[in-house]
């Protein structure tokens, strides 16, 4: 029982940040039809930015709760700076090309960002543990859990709810849906498709950076974090079905739980438990759990 609870809490907190990151990935794929490998680099950039921002906040002797604000601002700043640069400056030249080729374009971007990150922040790890202790410990039964982990669950719920509301209940959401269905018809109705692309990409990037910023206190921020994250978020969106918010949520939960179970019950399998789940899902639901059936061209 105790173990089951530990697995549940571990899995949930892991699933939370994973959901935030995967949501960005699935959003960008849904709108721009790009499966973005560089998403992992944006996550890493978010974590590095947050590390610097928190250090800065500490230097200025701001109250500890400001470090959370600093992390949020770091993600916003990153999205505002890097998204227009990447989308307008690079990706738009490749729209309409084969999906797999676009994956390769973002792979190239990923390689470049790896080195840029290293040039800016160096190869040594950063630790930002201050925010992690902010919320103390919470006792459930005889076990105590870190409050910050549970904050992540709340944050993930909030972010998921906001994105769902934005897509389903606002004018901009309707426009995005129109662009997803047919960019050409949307354009002929007077929608500036390129702007929708840029905003969607910026939101996706922001979510990656946000995920990175809020996990920064839990990990050591160092070169290589991007690689692990991107592969695991791929698994999440593939399990859930590309381009689906519910899918990303369920996928993140499945992956989080699978990993937590592997860590606690069968540590040897930690590395590939996630991929086994992904392979299994794909075998039985080739398009993911939440993908709608599409007509084929004859």
């Amino acid at each position: 029982m105790q173990l089951a609870l530990t697995i549940l809490v571990d899995g949930l907190s892991y699933a939370s940040w994973l959901f935030i990151v995967a949501l960005g990935l699935t959003l960008v794929f849904g709108v721009l039809k790009i499966l973005n490998i560089a998403h992992g680099s944006f996550y890493a950039l978010g974590a590095y930015m947050a590390a610097s921002a928190v250090a800065l906040a500490t230097d200025w002797n701001l109250p500890p709760y400001f470090s959370l604000l600093a992390m949020l601002l770091a993600a916003v700043m990153l999205a505002a700076l890097v998204a227009p640069l990447t989308e307008r400056g690079l990706l738009r030249f490749f729209y309409g090309r084969d999906e797999v080729l676009l994956v390769l374009v973002t792979y190239a971007l990923f390689l470049m960002l790896e080195d840029i990150t290293k040039l800016i922040w160096g190869a040594n790890p950063y630790y930002v543990s201050e925010p992690y202790g902010l919320f103390g410990n919470i006792d459930i039964g005889s076990q105590s859990y870190v409050g910050y982990d549970l904050l992540l669950v709340v944050l993930a719920g909030l972010v998921g709810g906001l994105v769902w509301w934005g897509l389903n209940r606002t004018r901009f959401g309707k426009i995005v849906t129109a662009v997803i269905h047919s960019p050409e018809i949307a354009a002929s109705m007077g929608i500036k498709v390129s702007r929708v692309y840029m905003v969607a990409f910026a939101i996706g990037l922001f979510l990656a950076a946000l995920g990175g910023a809020f996990t920064a206190p839990m990990i050591s921020v160092q070169p290589g974090v991007s690689v692990g994250v991107i592969i695991i978020s791929f698994a999440v969106v593939i399990i859930g079905g590309l381009g689906s918010i519910e899918g990303a949520a369920i996928g993140a939960l499945i992956v989080g739980m699978a990993r937590a179970m592997a860590v606690h019950l069968m540590p040897v399998a930690e590395l590939f438990s996630v991929y086994v789940v992904m392979a299994l899902v794909l075998m039985f639901r080739p398009e993911g759990l939440f993908q709608r059936i599409q007509a084929r061209k004859i």
């Binding site: 797999v100 590395l271 991929y275």
Partner: protein
């Protein structure tokens, strides 16, 4: 056919002759380029059917591990035998998955191959009898029962790899012009029509996949013979990404372009890691972007017609 064989023989002899006079580092680089090129050649077979596998690194690793294990435990050390064994093992291990994978297209095929290869990577890292994350070493190969003196190793490996590459390239050219090769192209254009005309899409894709595995296993074994070492990083997805890169760089219009692209990648990698040690990934990424942007049909399109014609 006769003309093709004659030309191939001439080119091979020319390369073998020229290779002898090259400095050792260049011989090694070319050996690696051609061994990796074989893996990418397998990818080109798949890409002609419209799918890209992101897990060829694992196939290469299967071949490499086979060669290293056979060398160590069975003392079979022949340079001509080991690549074949590597290819056959990769083929046999892959075969059960082929019918399953043949059902997938586009991004799902890529992601599933990636997932399976990462499962393989996880197993390799955790298996102590295979050396875990350190991998295993392999000694010096022999050729037709002869042990190789220090001075001759580098050239012999180059020559052996060249021969394997030449045979594979000729075979690929013939295969692409064969019925199955042409059906593969038709599948990329419209697989439903192929089914209506009585072709089996699933069977064709599965066979292509197994053939690609054979080439990858062979390439992996050749690379390990030259390196003298193999570790699980062979099967990591970033390595698989490099094979995909070479295949995209080559395009599907010319088989020779695959070897050329592989050599180009090897040169870019070596030079950028020598001259920009901290930013060589940046250089590689930039190069990749430029190729995709300005050479959409690959290097092969430089000397073949602009429209994607058949390789015959």
């Amino acid at each position: 056919m006769g003309k093709l064989l004659f030309t191939a023989e001439l080119v091979l002899l020319g390369c073998l002759g020229a290779g002898f006079f090259l400095p050792k580092w260049l011989q090694f680089m070319l050996t690696m380029a051609m061994a990796n090129g074989l893996v990418s050649l397998g990818l080109v077979i798949l890409m002609r059917g419209g799918v890209v596998a992101f897990g060829q690194g694992l196939m290469a690793a299967l071949g490499g591990y086979t060669a290293a294990l056979v060398f160590e435990h069975l003392q079979w050390t022949d340079a001509l035998l080991l690549p074949l064994l590597g290819g056959v093992t990769a083929m046999l291990i892959t075969a059960p998955f082929a019918p399953l994978l043949a059902r997938y297209r586009g991004i799902f095929f890529s992601m599933l191959t990636l997932a399976l290869s990462m499962v393989g990577y996880g197993i390799l890292v955790k298996t102590d009898s295979l050396g875990g994350s350190d991998g295993i070493n392999m000694g010096r190969v022999t050729l037709l029962g002869q042990t190789l003196p220090d001075a001759a190793v580098s050239y012999t490996l180059l020559a052996v790899t060249m021969c394997f590459a030449a045979v594979s390239l000729v075979w690929a050219k013939v295969f692409f012009a064969s019925t199955r090769g042409l059906v593969t192209r038709a599948i990329r254009d419209n697989e439903l029509r192929v089914e209506y005309m009585g072709g089996s899409v699933a069977q064709t894709m599965a066979i292509n996949f197994v053939l690609a595995a054979f080439l990858a296993g062979m390439g992996g074994a050749l690379a390990v013979m030259a390196l003298g070492h193999i570790d699980p990083n062979f099967s990591y997805w970033t390595t698989s990404g490099e094979y995909v890169f070479v295949a995209i760089l080559a395009g599907s219009q010319s088989v020779l372009a695959v070897m050329l692209s592989s050599a180009v990648l090897e040169v870019v990698r070596s030079f950028s890691s020598a001259y920009f040690p901290t930013t060589w990934q940046f250089a590689l990424g930039l190069f990749l972007l430029l190729v995709i942007r300005f050479l959409p049909h690959g290097l092969g399109s430089l000397w073949r017609s602009k429209s994607p014609q058949d390789m015959s």
